[in-house]
């Protein structure tokens, strides 16, 4: 019986130059996406309203008021709790349950997403960015 050929000799060895290039590209992608997403986290003092998009409709609630929102989207029931200036999904009967494990907003600065239920929860502040504000002062000389 012929000796089984080692098929790995037909391919480059693990962690060759090509592999290192792949990992470097993935790392650069990770860093650039993280910077784009989290460079400006929304602080609790600035955050004003919670936007919940589900089933094509959007509901808006003030972040400063504690409340519990029950919603049904795509056949799944979710419970969203707004408490102490943060919002999170406390209960969901979706098969994934990843939405209940996501970091409460606005600490994450991003969004809470439930893909099976097609629900997106974001926190938006009222008004424009601080960079757009121009402070004016009347100077009286004399």
């Amino acid at each position: 019986m012929p000796h089984p050929k080692d098929r790995t000799k037909e391919y480059p060895a693990p962690l060759c130059r090509g592999d290192r290039a792949v990992y470097l590209i993935l790392l650069l992608l990770l860093v650039s996406v993280s910077v784009l997403l989290y460079a400006k986290p929304v602080s609790a003092a600035d955050a004003a309203s919670v936007h919940i998009q589900s089933d094509g409709a959007e509901s808006v609630y003030p972040l400063s008021e504690d409340r519990t929102v029950s919603l049904t989207s795509c056949g799944y029931h979710l419970t969203v709790t707004i408490e102490n200036g943060s919002v999170r999904v406390t209960q969901s009967d979706c098969p994934d349950k990843s939405c209940t494990a996501m970091t409460p907003l606005p600490m994450s600065g991003g969004a809470i997403v439930c893909l099976p239920a097609q629900v997106i929860i974001t926190v938006e502040r009222e008004g424009g960015d601080d960079d757009d504000e121009i402070s004016s002062a009347d100077i009286i000389l004399g």
Binding site: P4, K5, D6, R7, T8, E10, Y11, P12, A13, P14, L15, C16, R17, G18, D19, A21, V22, Y23, I25, L26, L29, L30, V33, S34, L37, Q53, C74, P95, D96, K97, S98, C99, T100, A101, M102, S108, G109, G110, A111, V113, L115, P116, Q118, I120, T122
Partner: protein, 192 residues
């Protein structure tokens, strides 16, 4: 009493030049991919801090097809697995995400095996395809939900995808080393 004389097969059982054998091989690999899909969905990974993570063993079968058989087999197994999983388990909300992810992963797999087969090892290919799979899923989610907010989940998925892709890449290398050539289709040298 007549003794039956043993006639050894004239060609390897894995010789897929015959259409029937090719179909049988694809069927076997598709079944394997479906079983892996089902098993990894049962694994209780909720203890991990990363939500939505999957080990990606089904992708191991697709990569195996691409390396050992051909890209057409890999594509047919990948698409059929996504379709049959949705039919069997009734999770149509995830169908479009899975399909987009599978097509993204296959596109990158085809590119790497066509242009960088001698530069990138199965380890790098698996990691890159796992990351492409997650990227495709998020793109589908962004289009379907008409919101880019889903990308806040991207860094976590990218890390998880790279780790699981590395694991499946290691398994792929061990598999190629362990399986004897008599059960493998001979890969055409220099062509994907």
């Amino acid at each position: 009493m007549t003794m039956m004389k043993y006639h050894p097969p004239t060609s390897s059982s894995a010789d897929t030049r015959h259409p029937a054998r090719r179909l049988a091989m694809r069927g076997l690999l598709l079944c394997l991919a479906l079983v892996f899909s089902y098993l990894e969905a049962q694994l209780p990974l909720s203890f991990l801090p990363v939500p939505g993570i999957r080990l990606g063993f089904a992708n191991l079968v697709v990569t195996f097809c691409a390396y050992v058989c051909d890209l057409k087999t890999a594509l047919s197994v990948s698409v059929a697995r996504v379709l049959i999983t949705a039919l069997l388990f009734g999770n149509w909300s995830a169908f479009w995400f899975s399909l987009c992810g599978a097509l993204f992963a296959f596109a990158l797999l085809a590119l790497l095996l066509t242009f960088a087969r001698n530069t990138v090892s199965p380890l790098g290919v698996s990691a890159a395809c796992a990351a492409a799979h997650n990227t495709g899923q998020l793109l589908a989610a962004a289009v379907l939900m008409k919101s880019a907010a889903v990308f806040s989940y991207y860094p976590v998925l990218l890390i998880a995808g790279t780790v699981t892709g590395t694991l499946t890449g290691i398994l792929m290398i061990l598999l190629l080393r362990a399986l004897p050539p008599s059960v493998l289709v001979k890969a055409k040298k220099g062509t994907p």
